[in-house]
């Protein structure tokens, strides 16, 4: 009983680890490309992060980010990469639901689903005030 269970856990973790690594590499690549575009276009302007102004809608919503990334705006491409990065742990949790289901561990399917719902609520922006 113990051997197959730990084997599946180990196998599941290996797949998850590869998933995460691929997600991080893809995100880093996009952030880098976006960074090159951003620096080429705005490298000589003045850096100012002292005052908090918040980001425009095109950099805070999924629709806005994908639209500005598609226009090859440097900041848009970076933000899309960051969005992919934020999505990697969410993908890990989603995959774990399937993994626990495959192990017939109903209790942990429920626990993992709770975590997934909390994450999706946050990403959808329902949990915070705007």
């Amino acid at each position: 009983m113990n051997v197959p269970k730990s084997w599946t856990d180990q196998r599941m973790e290996e797949i998850i680890a590869n998933l995460l690594r691929a997600g991080v590499l893809l995100a880093a690549f996009m952030v880098f490309c976006g960074g090159v575009i951003y620096l080429v276009r705005h490298g000589r302007s003045l850096a100012d992060f002292r005052m908090f102004r918040g980001e425009p809608v095109e950099l805070t919503t999924l629709r806005g980010i994908s639209a500005s990334a598609f226009r090859l705006s440097g900041r848009g491409v970076i933000q899309l990469g960051l969005l992919i990065l934020i999505a990697t742990p969410v993908a890990r949790v989603a995959f774990s639901v399937w993994g626990f289901y495959a192990e017939h561990d109903r209790m942990y399917v429920v626990f993992t689903l709770i975590v997934l719902v909390i994450l999706l609520c946050s990403l959808a922006g329902y949990a915070g005030p705007g």
């Binding site: 180990q10 599941m12 973790e13 998850i16 680890a17 590869n18 995460l20 690594r21 991080v24 880093a28 952030v31 880098f32 976006g34 960074g35 951003y38 620096l39 490298g43 000589r44 302007s45 003045l46 850096a47 992060f49 002292r50 005052m51 908090f52 918040g54 980001e55 950099l59 805070t60 900041r75 848009g76 970076i78 933000q79 960051l82 969005l83 990065l85 934020i86 999505a87 990697t88 742990p89 969410v90 890990r92 949790v93 774990s96 209790m107 942990y108 626990f111 993992t112 975590v115 909390i118 994450l119 609520c121 946050s122 990403l123 959808a124 922006g125 949990a127 915070g128 005030p129 705007g130």
Partner: protein, 278 residues
């Protein structure tokens, strides 16, 4: 300073933070926010957003290395993530309500406490404790490879650990750090989980916790691409380099120096927060 110079300097600073953070096991996020706010005069909200993003990158990037070691316990991690993600939402919600000065003070206190914790000896005593009924029902007890073969362990005090994890999540959501120190404290001290299992499971949880508040920070406009780009790329590369030479390096002195730096930054954050400089 031009955007070009600023990006380069922030990248170098983040590289150093990620490198030292991973080499000493204290995490890069704790020095990143003070570095950005105190040295680069970045607004603390932008600093927290960028730090949160880099925390996800290091946690996800390091996962592969931890899985090979076979120490982390995904059941413990997943169950406690219910607490950390809820805490992270609460923390991110709170971040919009309190003043930036108050956030700086809480940050400073957390830094001082982390510096204090890192000086304490790790608990490595043998634990032959009877199984706890709740932990058994939650199937948390496990085993890990040790010098003398597989060693099994029994998890204790699940409710206490769960509450501490909510606190760790709230700190993470409020300050944009991984709060690995509090997570390890909850597992190692409260739940009596072996140190190695605690640290690796903590790393596994950090990314998921940070993702819970990152969504809110993103929609609130705290995550600026121009700042997050050098921070994320620098911390990620730095922490991967740090993990690579970790096995060979003598980290005792490095840990001492790094915890002193963290303590000093903590004092400075408290002072600036109270004096209204942040």
């Amino acid at each position: 300073m031009s955007v070009f110079e600023f990006t380069g300097l922030v990248w170098i600073g983040s590289l150093a933070a990620g490198f030292l953070g991973s080499l000493t096991g204290l995490g890069g996020g704790v020095v990143l926010v003070p570095l950005l706010t105190l040295l680069f005069k970045v607004d603390i909200r932008y600093a927290i957003g960028a730090s949160l993003v880099s925390v996800i990158a290091t946690s996800s990037g390091a996962a592969a290395a931890y899985v090979k070691e076979g120490f982390s316990n995904i059941r413990i991690g997943m169950f406690l993530e219910i607490a950390t993600t809820l805490g992270a939402l609460a923390g991110a919600f709170l971040a919009a309500k309190v003043s930036t000065g108050a956030i700086a003070v809480v940050f400073g206190v957390t830094l001082l406490y982390s510096a204090f914790l890192s000086r304490r000896p790790r608990s490595q005593r043998e634990r032959d404790i009877p199984p706890d009924p709740l932990a058994t029902r939650l199937r948390m007890n496990g085993s890990f490879p040790d010098a003398g073969g597989m060693r099994s362990y029994n998890v204790q005090h699940v409710p206490a650990g769960f509450s501490l994890m909510f606190g760790a999540g709230a700190l993470s959501g409020l300050l944009g750090i991984g709060s690995g120190a509090v997570k390890v404290l909850a597992m190692d001290q409260a739940m009596k989980i072996p140190f190695k299992v605690s640290t690796t499971t903590s790393n596994f949880m950090i990314g998921v916790t940070a993702a819970a508040s990152a969504g809110i920070y993103l929609s609130r406009g705290y995550i600026d691409p121009g700042l997050s780009m050098p921070v994320m790329l620098g911390v990620l590369l730095g922490s991967l380099l740090g993990a690579r030479i970790l096995a060979k390096a003598e980290t005792k002195w490095l840990r001492l120096i790094f915890s002193l730096v963290i303590g000093l930054l903590g004092g400075e954050m408290i002072y600036k927060g109270l004096a209204g400089g942040i």
